[in-house]
């Protein structure tokens, strides 16, 4: 028994020792913040991505593997605004990791750093799965990504002060490249202004807002409520009266409803990557926006 305990203690010490000298562990709730952490942290960070682009970020299971990864995280970057309300609280509560509790430098909620759209005036579950803090899908406006990037750089410097200069340099480099890219995207997206879009869920609101496009209706009758046949038929009738330019969904949405609607109305259907990994082309944050704009452009012609 004693030797067994001794071995266990030794293993624990070894694990702690290894952890102390390894790269900074970043737990990213969603792919976009994993990609951002990789851009900003380089080889000084080891990034764990808790969900992928084909998963609905509202509906991730609080799986044991996620709890285990949260346990060893030095920095958790999540979206906040209740996007991860169905799973993140369980991870934070059961992981027993003081470093990443909200309020600590090791916890960053991206949506808190930007101006949110669609903050509900009326909080009532009769309105569907609404978010009291506003629409949480903030990363599809690249200006928001730039703001979050600044904060991530700050946190990396705070937590890993020894490499502060490294993070500073990487952050500056990223911001410069990102600003150039934004100018490029805005030029490319200029002719999308005013386009009317029917979107599956309110997941592209920030993108449409940034590009000056209008979301005229949603396939979901209310946020998070799957569309019924009756609702879809109603949409077809409404689209006859007030036509839109395209139907849109993101990679993780069920394809059936938007495909049916596009077919019935003859409108072009665009499937956006939504986040890194949502399409084969969206490999990082830059190509995410490149691909998003390319797909929107293509549907316009």
């Amino acid at each position: 028994m004693k030797t067994w305990l001794g071995t266990l203690a030794a293993a624990g010490l070894l694990a702690a020792h290894v952890a102390a000298h390894a790269a900074l562990n970043v737990f990213a709730c969603v792919p976009e913040w994993a990609a951002l952490a990789t851009e900003l942290g380089g080889d000084k960070v080891s990034v764990y991505q808790a969900s992928n682009a084909l998963q609905d970020p509202h509906r991730i299971e609080a799986r044991p593997s996620l709890v285990a990864r949260m346990r060893g995280a030095d920095l958790a970057i999540c979206t906040g605004a209740e996007l991860e309300a169905g799973w993140l609280p369980v991870l934070l509560q059961t992981a027993g990791n003081a470093r990443v509790q909200p309020g600590k430098p090791g916890f960053l909620a991206a949506a808190e750093l930007v101006d949110k759209l669609e903050v509900p005036a009326r909080l009532d579950r009769a309105e569907g799965d609404i978010h009291p803090a506003g629409n949480p899908h903030v990363h599809l406006d690249p200006h928001n990504v730039a703001k979050v990037a600044l904060a991530v750089t700050g946190r990396l410097q705070q937590i890993d002060a020894a490499n502060a200069a490294y993070y500073e340099a990487r952050g500056k480099d990223f911001q410069a490249r990102w600003a150039q890219a934004i100018a490029r995207w805005e030029k490319a997206g200029a002719n999308l202004r005013g386009r009317k879009v029917v979107c599956h869920h309110k997941s592209a609101t920030y993108l449409l807002h940034w590009l000056g496009m209008t979301e005229v209706m949603n396939v979901e009758p209310k946020p998070g409520i799957p569309p019924s046949t009756g609702h879809l038929t109603g949409l077809v009738a409404r689209l006859k009266a007030e036509p839109a330019d395209l139907v849109m969904r993101v990679a993780y949405n069920d394809p059936k409803a938007t495909e049916w609607l596009a077919q019935r109305t003859g409108l072009p259907l665009v499937v956006l990557p939504y986040t890194v990994g949502g399409t084969p082309e969206a490999k990082d944050l830059f190509s995410l926006f490149d691909d998003t704009l390319a797909r929107l452009e293509k549907a316009g012609h």
Partner: protein
């Protein structure tokens, strides 16, 4: 500013003096034009940005007033679970017993016929200070009684990997016991929980869990408490009246599969744990057990969702096996003859169940329950003082139950369920049971465990 002046000058030059322009070299003109074009584009893009920002400013709501200073801002999260069912039971529920097993408390069985209000659960939770958080669940029963279902405080992550709870909590034995009934996949608890854990075991005590700092989920825990609930009883003694250890291991297999396996062992004691049986002449008698009750179990849960996205389709499989050994003395007819001698039993049970969401909102599930009354040695029968017919409830039996359900969830806060069970828990006769249930939650709804 200097740049703007230059541009103005250049523009003036380009437009006002065409003669000069004609005279100038083509290359110069091209260069100037290029520059004007790029400046124009630059301004256009900046104007566009400004327009966007203006639009955003117009659309964005007025900045939220600073958080209300009123004390109500510190109000805890409150949620309420409302549930109820319509039950159609072929046999009189008064006659329901798990044949071969000592009855596990009052909260087991199929319930009443016709309409039944379920327990309405009020949950209140919040951080207490930077070090502790608190959690409280009050259950109002259909009999108009109020029960403290759970009430515990726990540390807020300040100890590495260590979570400590103190108070009344759902015991960590196995998998299902820790999950609130409103989140179960079937209307009722598995037979093995009804036989060994009184339906759902609650413990007044302390629970500590430690999560190992490794990339897979590896957790060990201990629990100790008063052990007042079935299979233990409240005893007038100091110290730990029940102790438990458990371990869990879990991980993902690819993006689509995840699992958790667990093992638990719990030891407690019962003092005059009474139950009602009939003696051989047919009189109702009260018998009582005093002694050790030890139990171990293994549990397994596996979840599948294509690419880990459970929204469209997902599947959940779970299974648990438990074995209980009781060793002590059994008193016969405590109000009358009050004979007492040794008692020893080794009994076991298991269930397997699966729930498949085949399209959004709709799930179908199957469950199979089995118990084995195992080996029961009753001293009073062995020494000839009484006959086996004086303990009819402890006769050998292998209760079975097969259950099918389909449920519909209009949203993640509401669920309607239809369930059919063929219940063969009684000794001789089967019972067909139909339940139509609703479970709804309102207010703050906490995240669900795996």
């Amino acid at each position: 500013m200097l740049r703007t002046n230059f541009v103005a000058a250049a523009m003036a030059a380009a437009y006002a003096l065409p003669a000069v322009a004609f005279a100038a070299e083509d290359a110069d003109i091209r260069a100037i034009r290029e520059e004007i074009k790029s400046l124009k584009e630059g301004y256009e893009s900046r104007i566009r940005q400004l327009e966007n920002r203006l639009q955003a400013a117009e659309k964005a709501p007025a900045p939220a007033a600073a958080a209300p200073a009123a004390s109500s801002a510190f109000n805890p999260a409150i949620s309420l679970i409302l549930g109820g069912q319509y039950s159609h039971l072929q046999r009189d529920p008064e006659t329901w017993r798990i044949g071969g097993f000592v009855p596990g408390g009052d909260e087991i069985g199929p319930g009443n016929r016709s309409f039944n209000l379920g327990e309405s659960e009020l949950t209140v939770s919040a951080s207490i200070d930077p070090y502790f958080s608190g959690y409280f669940v009050l259950a109002a029963t259909p009999e108009n009684e109020v029960e403290v279902e759970e009430a515990y405080v726990m540390n807020s992550g300040a100890l590495p990997g260590l979570s400590i709870k103190a108070g009344r909590m759902l015991s960590g034995f196995g998998y299902l016991n820790e999950i609130h009934a409103h989140a179960w996949d079937f209307v009722d608890a598995p037979l093995v929980h009804q036989a060994f854990l009184g339906g759902q075991l609650k413990e007044d005590g302390v629970q500590a869990r430690w999560l190992a700092p490794v990339p897979v989920f590896a957790e060990v825990g201990v629990e100790a408490g008063r052990g007042a609930n079935f299979p233990g009883t409240g005893r007038n003694s100091n110290g730990l009246n029940s102790t438990m250890v458990f371990a869990h291991l879990g991980d993902d297999i690819g993006a689509s599969h995840s699992y958790r396996i667990g093992a638990s062992y719990r030891a407690t004691r019962a003092q005059d744990r009474a139950y009602v049986d009939t003696d051989s002449p047919g009189n109702e008698v009260t018998n009582a057990f005093t002694g050790d009750s030890r139990m171990w179990g293994v549990d397994f849960v596996w979840k599948w969702a294509p690419n880990g996205n459970p929204v469209e389709r997902n599947f959940k499989f779970q299974a648990e096996y438990m074995q209980r050994r009781e060793d002590g003395r059994l008193a016969f007819d405590t109000a009358g003859a009050n004979l007492s001698d040794g008692y020893r039993s080794r009994q076991s049970g298991w269930y397997v169940q699966g729930a498949y969401q085949f399209m959004p909102r709709w799930r179908a599930g199957l469950r199979y329950d089995a118990l084995d009354s195992g080996k029961v040695d009753i001293g009073l029968v062995d020494n000839g003082a009484l006959g086996a017919g004086d303990f009819p409830l402890l006769a050998a039996n292998d209760p079975r139950r097969a259950t099918a359900m389909v449920d519909y969830s209009p949203s993640e806060f509401s669920r309607l369920r239809l369930q059919f069970s063929r219940d063969e828990a009684r000794f001789d006769e089967g019972d067909n049971q139909v339940f139509l249930q609703y479970v709804m939650s309102l207010g703050a709804h906490g995240a669900h465990k795996f």
